[in-house]
Point group: C2
Chain length 407, copies 2
């Protein structure tokens, strides 16, 4: 509303110019006030563990504390997995003041105490809510309570918020996530803001200044190569989607390929290596999703492959693109800091494929010559130089991930 009384004789053109100017200035001011996220967080993709893939709603504080212990004892923390994120079902209702209340059966000692325990292990504390009226499991959502919830999280010492998109009705996604971003910023405690909008309104196009990571898909299905009709996909479906998303990722704003299914009993070891390798190529957050209290040595060795993790965490922050496809064989390319590169060969088919690939090439603006060492990041050894072709046999669903380092 503009406070002007106008008669028929009013000089409209002048008034209209004034109103246009006023509106512009106000919009700019409001834009500056509100265009805020914590910019120094997540300069590389966040890593950690999330309760959902393994436990779903069946969580409690005993599991969470044991998982914090296990993240340290298994070496996951040392490998970089330092966010422990409690997904849906920690919350149960709101009190008379509207404050969100933890489920007293699942978390009797309260979220502050649980967060303190997580912090005492040198880990960071992640939590979950939803932009709609209720979470996906029907718990209270944050819609209309954003600033209050953000203050509560800050008081509990929360470092990371996964913010889901169930029960959003006709809400606009960008506006809804912007409101929680503003609320977290106003609460003052730096919080990594994980947008979990499932890709339905192309969040890669708007999430950059709102969240630090943004989910691109429905929940991952624990399988190598399957899809369902409402958009859920296994590993290969997500890989296909990410072929077009590389240009939207960068420091502080990552495309989230969803939590890992490594160690959850379905994928074979080759598929698990491929899974981690490709998530690293995407510069996706790496959130383990298995029960790491009872994790096998093989799973730990996959999850903690520091050379693969280093690709994920490369400070240049440029995500991979799908450089070549030859039938079931795909070769992905990622430029790295210091003029180095990663290539990832994956065999999506059920037959072995023979490799004989020259890596001297130009992809986008990146020209690769014969002067690079080629290192296999799963065998942890040099396998030659770019003077020769990469040769070998890639078994079904297996991966060859190499790093090219300037000689």
């Amino acid at each position: 509303m503009i406070n002007l009384e106008i008669s028929s004789e009013f000089p409209y053109p002048y008034y209209c110019l004034m109103k246009a100017f006023f509106t512009l200035v106000l919009s700019l001011i409001i834009g500056i006030i509100h265009a805020q996220k914590f910019d120094d967080l997540a300069k590389t993709p966040p890593m950690g563990w999330n309760s959902w893939n393994k436990f779903g709603c069946d969580i409690n504080e005993k599991i969470i504390r044991e998982m914090a212990d296990a993240m340290v004892s298994t070496g996951l923390k040392d490998a970089g997995y330092d966010y422990l994120v409690i997904d849906d079902c920690w919350q149960i209702r709101r009190d008379d003041n509207g404050t969100i209340v933890a489920d007293p059966e699942r978390c009797p000692s309260g979220m502050k105490s649980l967060g303190d325990y997580i912090h005492s292990k040198g880990l960071k504390f992640g939590i979950y809510s939803d932009a709609g009226t209720a979470t996906c499991q029907g718990r209270p959502g944050s819609r209309g309570y954003e600033f209050q919830d953000a203050r509560t999280y800050a008081a509990w010492g929360v470092d990371y918020l996964k913010y889901d998109w169930c029960n959003h009705g006709k809400q606009n996604s960008e506006a809804s996530y912007t409101t929680m971003r503003d609320a977290l910023f106003k609460a003052g405690r730096p919080v990594v803001f994980s947008i979990c909008e499932w890709g339905t309104t192309k969040p890669w196009e708007w999430a950059r200044d709102i969240g630090h990571l943004s989910r691109s898909t429905e929940d991952i299905i624990n399988c190598f190569d399957c899809k369902n009709y409402w958009g859920g996909m296994g590993v290969t479906g997500i890989i296909d989607l990410f072929a077009d998303l590389y240009k939207y990722a960068g420091p502080g704003h990552w495309n989230d390929a969803d939590m890992l299914e490594i160690g959850n009993g379905v994928l074979i070891p080759a598929e698990e290596r491929l899974h981690l390798s490709m998530w690293a190529m995407f510069a996706s957050p790496l959130m383990a999703g298995n029960d790491i209290r009872s994790v096998s040595k093989e799973t730990v060795s996959i999850l903690t492959n520091k050379e693969v993790i280093a690709i994920d965490q490369d400070p240049l922050g440029v995500a991979a693109l799908r450089w070549m496809q030859y039938g079931d064989l795909e070769i992905w390319f990622r430029p790295l800091e210091g003029g180095n590169y990663a290539f990832c060969f994956i065999n999506r088919g059920s037959q072995p494929v023979t490799l004989d690939q020259d890596l001297k090439t130009t992809v986008r603006k990146y020209a690769i010559d014969a002067n690079f060492m080629v290192r296999d990041l799963w065998k942890h050894q040099e396998i030659g130089t770019t003077a020769e072709n990469v040769k070998g046999v890639l078994l079904p669903h297996d991966v060859l991930m190499v790093k090219l380092t300037k000689k």
Copy 2:
């Protein structure tokens, strides 16, 4: 998120059916929980006084208290104007808990005290906020604070909320107004919810179950026949818009033609009579917008025309449609409770028009025969029956409003 782990062997059709069913049930439950407004309010269009048209941002508690006194002393309250609505600029900031704070310079005794004073006069207490991040005057908006603000209003004894649409960014209007509706309902104190969305997203199509009244236009311009290029209009422009809106009005969900400009120094008395008459035909809320501390007898006599107000407040709650147009002459028709009817003749032009109109007709499902008394609601006298034509001369910008009562 759905807590299921799926391998390639998973029986998809069964799973999909289960998910669809689960989603449906959850949606229904959430729909029932949230589809709530205070249904027993505003069974007839709200009436009162609002500070904006006369005072804009220049309000303070002295003005408000004096206006409450004047609403009683002038007889406006007795005529039905019982909501005193404080528009934008009463608020200034939020405190550390996020609670909205009244401007201590404008309202030093606080909103609770001001509300108590308004209530002590037998009036009801209305307030203003905005669905966006800031109000139209740059004060704090309710976006992300909806439930907290609603609790605050309830604690202050607020009876009416005008809820504006500035600085909404990419918010969805229906979703934004739904959130505040839910917040008011949850706070528990019955509040008339006045949607002020300016018509940009056709609120008449979605506001029915959300608010008790819904603005259809930009702010009214204080003129009889003017428009501006961004959609503001005077009396005639709003009349044209309302020709198509009658089907959306009804008890508890009214189309709001905006606050009255009667007594604000621009409209001539004929135009003011026409203004009030047509707002009554629309079943629009009647919110005076002038300084009623210094109101003239003529303005009071127009605003308090009980016969015209009775048309506005007719319990059948069916709004008027534009029945006939003859050049500058328009005849509007409104069915009333008890098988009675109102007709409103308006002359939009600058020349007198001669009336000679047979009112025996059928409009929609309503058949009118020769057996009605015809009463002039501005002259307060019977002028004949429907056995004869209505005859006379209508001066420029003047109105003839008649009620047809069964003999």
